[in-house]
C-alpha cells in the first residue's frame, strides 16, 4: 500500500508544523495505533530527512571546495620572500641577451634529448608462462615428416605451462594468476610425485597470484621443510629460484635488485635471476630456504630484469580470502628445516615441492 496524496499532504504539514491542534493530535493517535501507516509514514520521514541531510552536506562540500580554491593559488605561487630588488645595470643588457639565448637553446635541446630517451624506453612487461603450442606444432611437423598418424597428436590446444610450489602440507599450491588465467583443467607434475590433478581455489588477478589445491592431497603425506617470509626482504639479498622453463627443473640464482617491480609496483621485487617463459609462478627463496616471492615476469629489452611478487602479498591474499578457514584449512608451514643446509642440499629438498603447472584449455 502506498500513501495517498492526501495522506502525504497531511504528513508534510505535520512535519512542517502546519496542522491544527486537533489534526496533529489525530495524526499522533494514528501513528501510535496503526502500524502499517506508521511504517509508511516513517519511510516518508526518512526520505525527507535524507533529502535535508544531502542538501546540507552538499552545501558544506561546496564551502570546502571554495576554501580549497582560495588556498590553491597562494600555495602554488611561492610567496615573494623579502625580494631584494636588483636593477640590472644598463651595460649588461647584451650579456643577459646572450645568456637568454643560451638558456633557450639548452632548454630546447634538453627537451629533444629527453624526448628521444623516452622513445627508447618502451620496455614492456612480459609474463612468463610458456605456450606449449609452439613446441607441439613443431613436434607435429616432425611427426608428419615421419609419416605418423596426425590425428592422435591433436588432442588439446592452447596449453600453457608455468611453475608452482607447495605452500601448505595439506596440498595447497601457489602459482601466478596469468598461468592459470584460462583453464579447463590444471595438472601439476614433478619428478617425485608425478602428475597430480589440481583445482584453482582462488585467483587474485590484481596481485597476479592464484592458489590451487591438489586433489587427494591427503594421500601424499606431505610436510614442508620451508616457510614463507612474513617481512619484506632486503636489497641485495641473495635469492634463488627453481622452475620449469623446459621439461626439466632449472635452478637460477641472483639477488634482489630493487624493492619495487615493473613501473614501481610496490607489490613486487626486481630480481636479477635468469628466468624464461615457464618460470612464472616459481618460488623465489632466500639463503635460508624461505620463500620471499613468486616469479611473475620480465622486462623486455632489458637484460637481466625479472620481477617477483612479494611473499607478503601472497600472505595477504591468503589472509584476506580467509583461505585458512576453508573446509580443509590452508595451514601455512611455520618451520624451516633447511636453514643450516648447504645450497645443494636445500635445492635437493626444495625441488620435490616445486611443480610444473600444466594448464589445459580446449
Amino acid at each position: 500500500m502506498n500513501l495517498s496524496p492526501e495522506q502525504i499532504d497531511l504528513l508534510d504539514r505535520y512535519i512542517k508544523g502546519k496542522l491544527s491542534k486537533d489534526e496533529a493530535a489525530a495524526m499522533d493517535r494514528r501513528l501510535a495505533s496503526d502500524d502499517e501507516f506508521r511504517w509508511k509514514a516513517e519511510e516518508h520521514f526518512t526520505i525527507i530527512r535524507e533529502l535535508k541531510f544531502h542538501e546540507q552536506r552538499k552545501h558544506l562540500m561546496q564551502v570546502l571546495q571554495a576554501a580549497h580554491a582560495e588556498m590553491e593559488s597562494p600555495v602554488v605561487t611561492p610567496a615573494p620572500e623579502k625580494t631584494v630588488v636588483m636593477r640590472p645595470a644598463k651595460n649588461y643588457w647584451a650579456i643577459s641577451g646572450v645568456a637568454a639565448v643560451v638558456a633557450i637553446i639548452s632548454i630546447i635541446s634538453t627537451f629533444y634529448i629527453t624526448r628521444s630517451i623516452k622513445d627508447e624506453q618502451t620496455a614492456i612487461y612480459r609474463e612468463l608462462r610458456r605456450k606449449v603450442d609452439q613446441i607441439k606444432k613443431s613436434q607435429n611437423i616432425m611427426m608428419a615428416d615421419m609419416a605418423e598418424d596426425k590425428k592422435e597428436k591433436k588432442k588439446s590446444r592452447g596449453n600453457y605451462v608455468g611453475t608452482g610450489f607447495l605452500i601448505s602440507a595439506n596440498g595447497y599450491v601457489t602459482t601466478s594468476y596469468h598461468v592459470v588465467k584460462e583453464y579447463d583443467s590444471v595438472y601439476i607434475e614433478n619428478e617425485k610425485y608425478g602428475s597430480l590433478k589440481a583445482v584453482v581455489v582462488h585467483s587474485d588477478p590484481a596481485n597476479d597470484v592464484s592458489i590451487l589445491k591438489i586433489e587427494n592431497a591427503r594421500l601424499l603425506n606431505l610436510s614442508l621443510p620451508y616457510s614463507i617470509a612474513k617481512t619484506e626482504t632486503n636489497l641485495a639479498e641473495e635469492v634463488y629460484t627453481l622452475g620449469y622453463p623446459r621439461e626439466d627443473v632449472v635452478f637460477g640464482a641472483g639477488s634482489i635488485s630493487a624493492l619495487t617491480g615493473y613501473k614501481e609496483n610496490p607489490n613486487a621485487y626486481q630480481v636479477s635471476v635468469p628466468v624464461n617463459p615457464g618460470n612464472s609462478g616459481g618460488p623465489l627463496f632466500n639463503s635460508k630456504g624461505d620463500i620471499v616471492g613468486i616469479i611473475s615476469g620480465i622486462e623486455t629489452q632489458t637484460a637481466g630484469v625479472a620481477f617477483a611478487t612479494k611473499s607478503t602479498v601472497l600472505l595477504d591474499v591468503i589472509k584476506n580470502e580467509a583461505l585458512d578457514s576453508l573446509h580443509s584449512p590452508l595451514v601455512l608451514s611455520k618451520q624451516n628445516t633447511l636453514r643450516n643446509s648447504t645450497r645443494v642440499e636445500q635445492v635437493k629438498r626444495w625441488k620435490d615441492y616445486v611443480f610444473m603447472v600444466k594448464v589445459f584449455k580446449n
Binding site: 502506498n2 496524496p5 502525504i8 499532504d9 508534510d12 512542517k16 519511510e43 516518508h44 526520505i47 525527507i48 535524507e50 533529502l51 535535508k52 541531510f53 544531502h54 542538501e55 552536506r57 552538499k58 558544506l60 562540500m61 564551502v63 570546502l64 571546495q65 571554495a66 576554501a67 580549497h68 582560495e70 588556498m71 600555495v75 590484481a206 596481485n207 610496490p266 607489490n267 612479494k310 607478503t312 602479498v313 595477504d316
Partner: protein, 185 residues
C-alpha cells in the same frame, strides 16, 4: 588551552562558514604531506581531508561536544584511518592497520563517517535517477519550503492542485529509487 581551536569551535557552532574555511586551510598541508608520503596523490589527499573536515563539522554541531584534543590531532587521526582504509581497498597497503588511536575514540567515529558518506551517495544516486523537473520541485517544497502555489507558478502548472499532483508522483519515484539503492547497499 588551545586558544585558536576553541575559537574555531565556537565559530563553527554558530555555523560560521568563514571559520570552516579557515580551519580547512590551516591543516590541509599536513594532510597532503601525510597522504603524499604514503602512496597517495594530492587529489586523494583532498578527498580524504574534506571528508574528515565534514566529520569534524558535524561532530561540533552535536550539543554534547567537548574539545578533548587539538583539532589538528583529530583531523590527522581521521585522515590517517580513512587513508589506510582506502589503501586497503586498493590493496596497495600491506602493513599493520591496528595502531592504537583508541584514546581518541576514533573507532565509532570511523563507522559513522563511512555511514554518512554512504547515505550521501545513496541519495545522490537516487536524485540523479529522478531528473528534472522532479528534483527541483521536490527540493523547492521540502528544502526551500516554498508553497505549492509558488512552485506551480514557477514550473508553469495551471493550478496548485496540478503541481501538487506532480510533486506526489515525483516523490513516489524518488522513494522507489532511494529504497532500491538503499537495499543494494
Amino acid at each position: 588551552m588551545y586558544y585558536f581551536d576553541e575559537l574555531i569551535v565556537a565559530e563553527i557552532r554558530k555555523k560560521s562558514e568563514v571559520a570552516l574555511r579557515e580551519l580547512y586551510k590551516t591543516h590541509f598541508p599536513m594532510v597532503v604531506n601525510l597522504i603524499c608520503t604514503n602512496n597517495g596523490s594530492e587529489q586523494e589527499a583532498k578527498d580524504v581531508y574534506q571528508e574528515a573536515v565534514l566529520a569534524f563539522y558535524q561532530k561540533v554541531q552535536q550539543p554534547e561536544f567537548v574539545l578533548t584534543c587539538k583539532i589538528k590531532t583529530y583531523l590527522y587521526a581521521v585522515c590517517r584511518r580513512l587513508w589506510l582504509k582506502r589503501l586497503a581497498e586498493k590493496k596497495r597497503f600491506h602493513g599493520n592497520i591496528e595502531e592504537s588511536e583508541s584514546f581518541l575514540g576514533i573507532e565509532e567515529e570511523m563507522t559513522d563517517i563511512v555511514e554518512k558518506e554512504k547515505r550521501f551517495d545513496t541519495m545522490s544516486r537516487a536524485m540523479e535517477g529522478l531528473g528534472e523537473p522532479c528534483l527541483s520541485i521536490i527540493k523547492d517544497f521540502y528544502i526551500h519550503d516554498l508553497s505549492m502555489e509558488v512552485i506551480g507558478g514557477k514550473f508553469g502548472y495551471t493550478n496548485a492542485d496540478n503541481a501538487k499532483n506532480q510533486k506526489y508522483k515525483c516523490l513516489q519515484r524518488l522513494k522507489k529509487l532511494f529504497f532500491e539503492k538503499h537495499k543494494e547497499e
